[in-house]
Amino acid sequence: MNKKTDFTNAKDLLALCEAKNIPISEAMLLRETSKFEISREAAEERMLKTLNVMRESVARSQTEKMQLLGGYIGGEGKELLARVKKEGALGGTISRAAAYAMGVIEWNASMGRIVAAPTAGSAGVLPGILAALEEAYKFDDEALVKALFNAGAVGYLIGRNATLSGAEGGCQAEVGAASAMAASMICELFGGAPPVCLAAAGDAMSNILGLICDPIGGLVESPCQKRNAMGVSNAMISAEIALATGGRCLVPFDEVVTVMHNVGRSMPYQFRETALGGLAATPSVKNLKPGCASCGACK
């Protein structure tokens, strides 16, 4: 019975969607209910709860005064949103989504409650985009819950066939994965067929291939925060391109995932979350103590 609803790569997923004439979100929901002894209603309800935690993390990051543990970052999400509202940023919805994503990373670094999607360090991308699209296009709960199942399918394929861990694959495995998940999710929200969704996911991942994980001070603050903003904009533009071109692409999603895995494996350990290389090992941040960036009392 499981065989009919299970899939382990994008090729099988697309075949399943075509055979049953269903979107990716439905295929993921069917897989979940057939594999994990959970009813459709319970799975949808749990995803709605997850969506609400995402919404809460966006809202509280924009309204509350946050106490960041490291203090390398703080307030950038609010500053960007203020610019979007007052002066109009370069791209309204994209900038708004990026502002929300940056806020969620601040909220995470303040011991706020977040949804790891797929990880805590990349937790801003999905909620940032969902919140901005919900505002701009008035998607209802049902559409947004489906969108998350779609994103989950893409994340599952990356996690199963490569990795979702910065310690194993660098930032491409975290923000790269989140961005790919989001790109596919956006396509389904705007009526893109399954091949269009996965083309967008593949493009988004392709654009972030090779990105290292080099957290300053070893903390989930910088460069994570701005990389989440980048993950947002990359997802949105990848989705837009895929929707415009009908998902035309040279390298299918499964192969992009394999490339990401191989690149991650060949990445020196200094660039895999150890804080021993990259931006974390630059002269400017070497003597920086947590809190220095925002406090400035000693300057």
């Binding site: 993921m28 929901l29 897989r31 979940e32 594999k35 994990f36 799975a43 749990r46 995803m47 709860k49 997850t50 935690v53 543990l69 490291g70 909220w107 995470n108 670094a109 303040s110 011991m111 706020g112 409650r113 977040i114 949804v115 790891a116 999607a117 797929p118 990880t119 805590a120 360090g121 937790a123 999905l126 998350l148 199942f149 994103a151 989950g152 399918a153 994340g155 599952y156 996690g159 199963r160 979702l164 861990s165 310690a167 194993e168 998940m181 001070g217 070893g218 903390l219 989930v220 603050e221 947590p290």
Partner: protein, 223 residues
């Protein structure tokens, strides 16, 4: 390989900032708490590797204390766990260790003292993505992932003892999903870790403790 659920990908819901340094740390301490049978009066945390270097910036300390208080990984009380521990009359001590213990970089030793003077200890590592491994209990090297409910038994290492333990599970109609036995250095005593499907109860635990050659038994309830 364990199958990934959509909620492994879009989730878990957790207090930030780090699945390994915050959520994973809490899970280790929550298991340590279960070693105590009476009220806990003091806890010492000895941090190794990355835990020792970055614990403040990751809220690892607050998460560990939250675990001792039995909180879930998405409980906002983790933020103020030191205050809650103080109110509960639990003394907390943190030590940053230099020693290279050749274990996983994110490792903590937790020593718990109860009001009756009983002392228990546990070593756990946070191995990534919020997954953990308990590698030592009360001085004995073991392996336990903390994913399933488990009964951990300390016994005299004699023939028939393990059979007498597993018999109890049969009587209580509880399936053992995974079992491993770890011998202590003295060769006279051993630890059995019995992971189970579903739940166990006090009556079952009493029955295990009544068996000959059983020195102690702890029920670790993780779900």
């Amino acid at each position: 390989m364990r199958e990934l659920s959509v909620f492994d990908i879009i989730g878990p819901i957790m207090i930030g900032p780090s699945s390994s340094h915050t959520a994973g740390a809490l899970k280790i301490a929550r298991i340590a708490k279960m070693l105590a049978k009476t009220k806990i009066v003091s806890v010492r945390f000895q941090l190794y590797g990355s835990f020792a270097k970055t614990y403040r910036g990751h809220g690892t300390d607050r998460a560990l204390v939250g675990g001792i208080l039995g909180y879930a990984t998405d409980d906002y009380r983790i933020r103020d766990s030191f205050d809650w521990a103080k109110k509960a009359g639990i003394e907390i001590v943190f030590e940053e260790m230099d020693a290279d213990i050749a274990a996983h970089p994110n490792t903590v030793d937790i020593t718990i003292t109860e009001e009756n003077g009983e002392v228990s200890s546990l070593r756990g590592s946070s191995v990534g993505g919020g997954e953990i491994e308990i590698v030592r209990i009360n001085g004995c090297d073991i392996r336990f992932s903390g994913k399933n409910n488990a009964v951990i038994v300390r016994q005299n290492d004699k023939p028939g003892v393990i059979a007498s333990i597993t018999k109890i599970f049969e009587v209580f109609n509880v399936n053992i999903s995974y079992m491993s036995v770890f011998c202590e250095e003295n060769d006279e005593t051993a630890f059995s870790v019995l992971e189970i499907d579903g739940e166990f109860n006090d009556l079952g635990m009493e029955a295990i403790c009544r068996q000959p050659n059983i020195l102690s038994a702890i029920y670790i309830k993780v779900k």
